[in-house]
Amino acid sequence: MSTTVTDFLLAVEGLGVSFDGFKAVDDLSFYVDPNEIRVIIGPNGAGKTTVLDLICGRTKATGGSIKFRGTELTIMKEHEIVRAGVGRKFQNPSIYEDLTVLENLEISFPRGRSVFGALNFRRDAEVRDRIEEVARMVFLHDLLLLQAEYLSHGQKQWLEIGMLLIQDPALLMLDEPVAGMSVSERKKTAELLHTIIQDRSVLVIEHDMGFVADIAHKVTVLHQGKVISEGSMAHVQADRRVVEVYLGH
């Protein structure tokens, strides 16, 4: 397997992880193309979040391989995976409440990531312009000096998306990006996601079928840690097994 040469941005092959004997992900394989938007769906406990955890290194795989642009990710540390170009948004908004919106974005700016790099980091024009630009995209440019804890839930989600965006990852992983949002926030977020998924591959976990149908190029359905169906939205919706375990109710 290790010699496979592909054009895939991300190649997951035979991936498995077990927690105390329970196989959360079992012999999982899928491939993501450059600029592809892939949505992972499946019932609760199917292992969706675990798959993202495995890719970004938060959970160590017990078997299989994850290749990103031909580099094996399973042996890398979390921060190395991020530096390689994989960005991850968590299910609950994960931002720094004690810092301002500006400082939140600045920390995510991909420069000065070593201890001494951070000591010598200067907020120069390049950094300021990029922060302005991203803040505008995520509707927070008027709130740059506000402490992040005072943002609404939806704004916190946007801020985290902005923090990923400023990293400019080649692969963006989003875990339920529209969960817990009001209808208007959801609509704005959908628009936002449409803009930020340009020119990069995106891996999304989402339950909102309308949203999935709207953005997905391809859908992967997980059940009990295994892929049970993969293809276009229409294809998986027509799949009898998918209807049985997930969409049917």
Binding site: H79, R83, S94, I107, V115, Q167
Partner: protein
């Protein structure tokens, strides 16, 4: 967008006020005996300063800062002890030219690790390097394995205990429970005179201000904001491409290095170093100084360390048996009533009036004053 300036106008005023208090008001108004006591308090300020970054900002509670304070102090004491143990001074010993406690313990030659401490330059480097290296080793072992929070605090406490036992047990090499006493001269200059103590006080206060400026510049840099971010959301920092352990190791080493300098200053001013400054109790007391003053404020921690120690001296002179209760009560009050210490009270009630008087904007000062952590003083 806020300015990149290292010192805002308000910072300059705050540092100037502190410099005036430490370098003019205190030495100008106290007799030599009291000044020497304040000199001792200033050495504890170094530890509190390190804890502001390590504990207040990064949320790493160390209950073993006494170890680093002690190591710095012992490195200085070893140099002074060797100088005081010239063949001339020790000719009544069975082996002249070695420290008296070694002679009492039937040691007949200077141990190899003592030899470099004949050099003042080496000793001064060791004051910073030895505590930093120990912090580096512990930091690597703990933070790379993601040991944190309460577990880290307990391990540092164990370290304080181990270090005390080691020093007391190896009395032939360390002076044991009595520590290193009878220190006399620094490179030929008698450190026991009132004049020398005055100079030493001024040097300590000057070095403290310099250390506070370094700490301030770290907090003003992006590294300072990363420390706060780590305290809040460690995983988010990790998944923004930072090696979290490296930052924790850095801040822990910084706190250790500053504590070591404080320890050396202690030795020089008080004239001895002993295990009673290394163990669990002094280590926890140092955390209390920082907590009372305000663990998220450089100035709070420094003033806090001085005030608590001043209170301790006053209490101990009149009602010695009540001091421990008073300190316990103070700590409880901080935890329950004002989790950000004196600095937190200042920020809440006084800061805006001060801003009005000075004509500074609260926004400009905000970036410097690290945001206040939610609550829960002891362990994040």
């Amino acid at each position: 967008m806020n300015s990149n300036a290292f010192l805002t106008r308000k910072d300059i005023i705050c540092f100037a006020i502190m410099a005036v208090i430490l370098l003019a008001v205190i030495p100008g108004s106290l007799d030599p005996f009291r000044l020497n006591l304040f000199g001792k308090y200033v050495t504890y300020c170094f530890v509190a300063l390190g804890l502001v970054l390590c504990w207040g900002d990064a949320g790493i509670l160390s209950l073993g800062q006494g170890v680093f304070f002690g190591l710095g102090g012992y490195c200085m004491a070893m140099f002074l002890k060797l100088e005081a143990s010239s063949v001339e001074n020790t000719k009544i010993q069975s082996t002249p030219g070695i420290p008296d406690f070694m002679d009492w313990n039937q040691i007949t030659s200077l141990p190899y690790f003592w030899r470099p401490f004949h050099s003042l330059a080496f000793s001064l480097v060791a004051v910073v390097a030895v505590p930093t290296l120990l912090a580096l080793v512990i930091g690597f072992a703990m933070f790379k394995r993601r040991v944190g929070g309460t577990y880290f605090a307990i391990i540092t406490q164990a370290l304080a205990s181990i270090m005390t036992i080691l020093i007391i047990g190896q009395q032939g090499y360390t002076g044991g429970v009595n520590g290193m006493t009878d220190l006399r001269t620094l490179d030929g200059w008698d450190i026991r005179t009132d004049h020398a103590k005055f100079i030493m006080y001024m040097v300590s206060a000057g070095v403290l201000i310099a250390a506070a400026l370094v700490a301030h510049s770290i907090r003003r840099s992006k590294l300072g904001r990363i420390l706060v971010a780590m305290r809040d959301k460690e995983d988010r920092v990790r998944f923004s491409g930072y090696d979290v352990a490296a930052f924790k190791i850095f801040v822990f080493c910084f706190a250790a290095a500053v504590a070591g300098v404080g320890g050396a200053m202690f030795t020089l001013q008080v004239g001895f170093m002993s295990p009673s400054l290394v163990g669990i109790v002094p280590s926890i007391e140092m955390v209390i100084y920082c907590a009372v003053g305000g663990r998220t404020s450089i100035f709070g921690a420094i003033y806090g360390a001085i005030l608590v120690n001043f209170a301790r001296t006053e209490f101990s002179e009149d009602l010695p048996q009540l001091w421990l209760f008073a300190m316990g009560a103070m700590f409880i009050a901080v935890v329950v009533l004002f989790p950000n210490g004196i600095a937190g009270l200042y920020r809440r009630y006084l800061d805006r009036y001060v801003d009005r008087v000075l004509g500074t904007t609260p926004e400009a000062s905000r970036a410097f004053q690290a945001p206040e952590p939610a609550s829960n003083v002891v362990v994040e």
